[in-house]
């Protein structure tokens, strides 16, 4: 186990370096002038631009800038953005909102998705099964901005069940609808995965044995088949966290939420490279760590998979 963790952590290093290099290079190649509009209606003086570039190291060659950035990163410093705020501060004031949004989405997709998947899987080919298959297919084919736009129109504007936009900081109540929208796609996949996996396991020999030795259907499904069926679902939920963060850009924009997605959007529009790179770097780190945790959990839950 320890060996496995070390190997995985070592494998993360090149991935992390590659991802940061790629994002840093993209940001470096971003067109546009970060000093634009800083000096009012007229262009900035050469002296100001020179000072600005020197302050943020923009006059150095790309690789020097990148290595400087990495050194800073290793000291736990994400740098200061062009507005003199530390990136860590920018992230710290927004992460609680996005985490709460993601939690709503995760809770929604796990509870509803797994329940729908179980109901569909228990009676393969039944009414509920067909209903779930069709509904999930519909959700999967609707891009998040379409679902977001429609639910904002109907649940927000027309029926006034949920607030249309969120305040700053957003309350839990304001995050419910955006969370449902954000989690909808993953919910569909969770439901289908649970169903497929349960259908496969219900035909397995050990379930037949459980029934043969006199266990009730509920017990043989709930205790035996379900536990094994949920393994791939857990993996999927872990892997979907990266996708949730990407989807948060759209969801937070539709519902006007001041979170990480909104921050990425703003920093791209304002050519605020430091904030953008910092945000993406943190997201990549979260993704890598969550995936490692899921893989470790997998080994704990399924004794057939050994990490030695």
């Amino acid at each position: 186990m320890g060996k496995y963790i070390i190997r995985r952590l070592l494998q993360m290093i090149p991935v992390f370096l590659g991802a940061t290099l790629f994002i840093y290079w993209l940001n470096f190649a971003l067109p546009g002038d970060p000093t634009a509009g800083r000096c009012g209606e007229r262009p900035c003086s050469p002296a100001y631009i020179e000072g600005f570039n020197a302050k943020y190291g923009l006059d150095k060659p790309f690789l020097v800038q990148y290595v400087r950035y990495l050194t800073m990163l290793l000291h736990g410093d994400l740098g200061t953005n062009y507005y003199n705020n530390t990136v860590i501060h920018e992230l710290a004031i927004r992460y609680p909102t996005t985490i709460r949004l993601a939690l709503v989405a995760l809770a929604f997709m796990t509870l509803v998705g797994v329940t729908a998947g179980i109901l569909a899987g228990i009676r393969k080919g039944g009414v509920i099964d067909n209903l779930v298959t069709i509904l999930t297919l519909l959700v999967i084919s609707m891009p998040v901005f379409v679902i977001g736009g429609l639910s904002q129109r109907f649940f927000g504007l027309q029926w006034k069940i949920f607030p249309v936009t969120a305040g700053n900081p957003a309350t839990w109540n304001q995050l419910i609808l955006p969370g449902l929208v954000l989690g909808s796609l993953s919910l569909a996949y969770v439901a289908r995965l649970t169903r497929t996996s349960l259908v496969e396991n219900l035909r397995a020999d050990y379930v037949r044995t459980a029934k043969a030795k006199g266990l009730s259907t509920a017990r043989s499904i709930g205790l035996h088949a379900l536990r094994n069926s949920l393994l791939p679902v857990i993996t999927y939920i872990g892997a979907s966290i990266g996708g949730l963060m990407g989807g948060a850009i759209v969801t937070e924009r539709i519902f006007n939420i001041n979170g990480i997605g909104g921050l990425i959007w703003r920093s791209i529009n304002q050519r605020d490279g430091m904030t953008l790179v910092g945000t993406v770097v943190v997201l990549v780190m979260i993704y890598l760590v969550v995936n490692l945790l899921v893989d470790l959990l997998y080994g704990v839950l399924d004794p057939r998979i050994s990490h030695d």
Binding site: L30, L137, V146, I249
Partner: protein
């Protein structure tokens, strides 16, 4: 939304390691193990799948939709639509007319016919989806074959490279990359489309790479591959005639499903204002324009029709891919 390419977990786990342990066996055609039916006539893997699919109505629905959208994108004139960018298409006195009375789909806030916009919007979406899926399948497929066949340090390097792009969510990377390649409104159409295609393919290929790699790893130890090698077949021959044809099925299926996802992502990028740019006609752009709160209230049909077309197109490809996947998978028969 659009993290679909990440989400084909039926085929792939979250990381290369879990992958090897948990991958459900992709259907592999073994030439020496063909199923014989009652007539004694051998049927191939795809022949079997075809027999199953042709009896399913949903398969034909998916085929019909794909054909419909393909025709729409090749020859929009067949649907009686005119180029919405043409002279005299928009008349302000018709602004916000509702559908009905011989006017299909109604008019938008500028008095432009929504029907023609929706029909012409198919071309960009289908083109982006098709090109991206092909590019991702080509890059991911060839690198996956190389990694799976050669193994060793080549495999390690390529796998880590794929991990790098896999760790960046498609939409997030797409937004950053789209911003880094600037285009102006007078850039040629192929450049605007090409930019979206390359961006999506850059983050889409690792999915296919992992799939192809594990598929090749499963085919490689088979007897017929060893036989071909023992008979003195060159590596190129063994890979080209034996390994690739027998590992391709899951890649074709997932590429079809991903195609739908790419159409959705293109629309999302265009919706955010950084994908396709006007004067290109695109569903994403139409939905974006129709989504402002005042227009949602006054002209909901402006939002409804392009959104319905978009969802149907995405649905068509995902449904087709899933029907083929189910037919190919012996466990689901």
């Amino acid at each position: 939304m659009t993290e679909r390419p990440d989400s084909m977990s039926g085929f792939i786990g979250p990381s290369a390691d879990a992958n090897e342990a948990t991958l459900t066996a992709p259907p592999v055609a073994d030439p020496f193990d063909e199923v014989e039916d009652n007539l004694g006539k051998p049927r191939s893997l795809w022949g079997d799948a075809w027999e199953i699919m042709r009896r399913r109505p949903l398969f034909w629905v998916a085929v019909a939709l794909v054909v419909l959208f393909a025709t729409m994108s090749i020859a929009p004139q067949l649907f009686g639509a005119q180029d919405p960018r043409g002279q005299g298409m928009c008349l302000l006195e018709r602004a916000r007319w509702k559908p009905g009375g011989g006017i299909l789909f109604g008019f938008d806030d500028q008095g432009c016919p929504i029907y023609d916009q929706v029909i012409y919007g198919a071309r960009s979406s289908i083109l982006v989806g098709l090109l991206t899926a092909s590019l991702a399948a080509f890059v991911g497929g060839s690198l996956g074959t190389v990694a799976g066949y050669l193994g060793g340090w080549v495999d390690a390097v390529l796998s880590r490279l794929a991990d790098v792009f896999f760790a960046i969510p498609l939409l997030l990377g797409g937004i950053v990359l789209m911003y880094s390649i600037p285009t102006t409104p007078d850039s040629p159409y192929w450049l605007v489309v090409g930019k979206v295609v390359v961006t999506l393919a850059v983050f889409g290929w690792p999915n296919i790479f992992r799939l192809m790699r594990s598929s090749v790893l499963q085919v490689k130890p088979n007897e017929y591959v060893m036989a071909a090698r023992a008979l003195g077949g060159s590596p190129l021959h063994v890979v080209g005639s034996h390994i690739v044809p027998n590992s391709l099925a899951p890649v074709i299926v997932v590429s079809t499903i991903d195609l739908g996802g790419y159409i959705a992502t293109e629309a999302t990028l265009s919706f955010l204002g950084i994908g396709l740019q006007s004067p290109a006609v695109s569903w994403g752009l139409q939905i974006s324009r129709a989504s402002s709160i005042p227009l949602i209230r006054s002209t909901p049909h402006m939002l409804f029709f392009p959104a319905a077309a978009l969802c149907l197109a995405v649905l068509a490809f995902i449904l087709l891919g899933e029907m083929v996947r189910d037919a190919l998978d012996p466990k689901l028969r």
